[in-house]
Amino acid sequence: MESLLIIYKLIVWGYAAFDYLSSKQQTGAGFVLVSLIYFCLQLFALIVRHKKWKRGAAFGSVVLLVFAAVLVEPLWALLLPLNGYELTSLYIHRVWGIGGVLLTPMIWLRPSEAKLYGFVALFSLASVTAAKRHIERLEQQEDRLDQLRHDLYRLARRMSEYHQYMKQSEYTLQLEERNRLSQRIHDQIGHSLAGALIQMEAAKRLMDRDCDKAKQLLENAIHISKEGMEQIRMTLKQIKPPLEQIGLNRVKLFIEEFSAQHHLPVPLVCKGDLDVITPIQWKVIYENIAEALTNASKYAEATAIAVEIHVLNRVIKVEVKDNGKGAAKIKKGLGIIGMEERAASVHGTVIVDGTNGFSVTTLLPIHK
């Protein structure tokens, strides 16, 4: 509707402007200024939301057009019907009424002008009214659609709320369950220990009087304790003392020396079953660690270097990692190539990474 009216107005204005351009009239100031003010008023009416301002702009336009038609260029009157429609439709609702008002200016016009004006007025009246009706219907449908959309949205939201609620309760249940679990473990171990204690206490008292009974009680206590032990065993991991080995000792020795020499903390961590490492692999590991540490002390500006020997299932991972400046792009020096060659001799690879500190990882396969 809005764009339709704009286009109507533009066409009529364009007609007037073209007529003015082809006329012999000399100064353009008047026409241009009126055009600009007219545009401003129209745009203003489109932009503002308040009814009062819209009405003011519509009124202003009509006044401007009347003045312009009288003083500057009679063709401005052609825009009157459209703007007049806007203005009068605010006050008069009957189409005939509006039409009557729109056609009144014909009285003051010369016959030839009146004809054109009347034509434009009737045309605008008919087309704008039709368009308005059409749009009203469209708006009604739009409203209904909006209502439906709103309902849909509401239902969807309620659904998601339920979903949220379900998740929440699930989690709460989990927490409760865990709580109960730990409580029970505690209760059970405590209970079995307490049970064993009581039984043993009783056995001690009975020892002299009823040896058999005491024995039975003790048997019970032993059984309860055994079960308890089993439970505890299940939860606690067995810690096996590290196996002292030649290879490892040599690495340890070197690291200690290195650490003392460079005043750097060099922690060594070993994980997994070191027994599977063959002597030849130990040699490669030792040399690569030595090389990597030397490199790190030379270039890294690190404050700590960590060495890790990790025996995985099929792979031994040896990592020397510092917390220094690292290197975005790694240039392969002789040192790295040497490490790679050593690793390759036992079918392993070396990964050098400089993104977060500098790390040299040697991966050696385990052949079982």
Partner: protein, 311 residues
């Protein structure tokens, strides 16, 4: 015959070594996954296989022929799905596929049919006349794939085909990769999404800093770092649990019970989950939940390199 053989291939960009003496073999009919972090050298390797880059050293063979000598032969049998979407925005979906297929020497009715097939395959048949700029990310990705399919390559190389798209499209793409494989295509698939690679690839190479640090099936890779997998079961009816019977199941190494949680450790190379579950059900044990705590490729990568796949 091996689809692809790479021997001691090295590619340097100035001082930077992108691919470092890489060797690998892909057999016909495999879905071979390249798994590695960004910048690990996956794309460079792929570009060398596709003939976009020339290796500084080493040899690449497609179907037994050295691509340095039989360039056109190799290209004809490869379809590449580049990492970035490489389509012309001013050509319609149909025209994009048609253009690229035409470059592989397809003509006339055959060309039209193949283009239709390719579009059908990625589910863009009804969009054939639309321009890609109106497409969603997933549709663009699918078109990107279609452009590599119409000439029916034997080897399809997909370089991160699922970057930045919604889960639905991603599943579609993974499904179509499997389907392509069933139709007889060998596929090289790179990704830094561990789950994707795990899901579809028959064999996987983990690449880091231009080197293959591990290669094999998913199980083989996992076996590298450990030989046991743990299954955690939450059950009801602990008293009915028969520990001995469980332990006698092939592969089971240990069974630990605790209140209503059971942890069963077993040999990683043995798939005995069914048996375990059957055993439990047979004894009238009710399984409340089951959690598979076995290693995955992510943990493998982490264990081997000390870094995460995605930082």
């Amino acid at each position: 015959m091996n689809m692809l053989e790479i021997k001691q291939v090295t590619k340097k960009f100035g001082d930077f070594i992108a691919v470092d003496h890489m060797s690998l073999t892909v057999a016909e009919g495999e879905i071979f996954g390249f798994l590695g972090a960004n910048g690990a050298g996956k794309s460079t390797t792929i570009h060398m296989i596709a003939g976009l880059l020339r290796p500084n050293a080493g040899e690449i063979k497609i179907l037994g022929k050295d691509i340095a000598k039989h360039r056109q032969f190799a290209k004809r049998h490869i379809g590449i799905v580049p990492q970035e979407i490489a389509i012309y925005e001013h050509l319609t979906a149909y025209e994009n596929v048609e253009f690229f297929a035409g470059l592989y020497g397809l003509r006339g009715a055959e060309l039209r049919q193949r283009v239709e097939e390719a579009l059908e395959f990625v589910g863009l048949s009804d969009k054939r006349k639309s321009y890609p700029k109106h497409f969603s990310g997933g549709m663009k990705r699918r078109l990107n794939i279609a452009c590599a399919l119409a000439h029916r390559p034997k080897l399809i190389i997909m370089d991160e085909p699922t970057v930045g798209i919604d889960p639905q499209s991603r599943n579609d793409i993974l499904a179509s990769v499997k389907k392509l494989n069933e139709m007889g295509c060998t596929i090289i698939y790179t990704s830094h999404y561990m789950e994707e690679v795990e899901e579809i690839c028959t064999r996987i190479a983990i690449i880091d800093h231009g080197k293959i640090i591990a290669e094999g099936t998913k199980e083989q890779l996992e076996a590298m770092i450990t030989d046991t997998k743990d299954i955690w079961l939450e059950i009801r009816g602990m008293d009915r649990l028969n520990k001995e019977k469980l332990q006698s199941i092939h592969g089971v190494k240990a069974v630990q019970c605790d209140d209503n949680m059971v942890k069963i450790s077993s040999d990683i190379s043995v798939n005995n989950l069914n048996e375990i579950v059957q055993c439990l059900i047979h004894d009238g044990v009710e399984i409340r939940s089951l959690e598979d705590k076995s290693p995955n490729l992510e943990t493998v990568f982490l264990a081997l390199t000390g870094r995460n796949l995605r930082d």
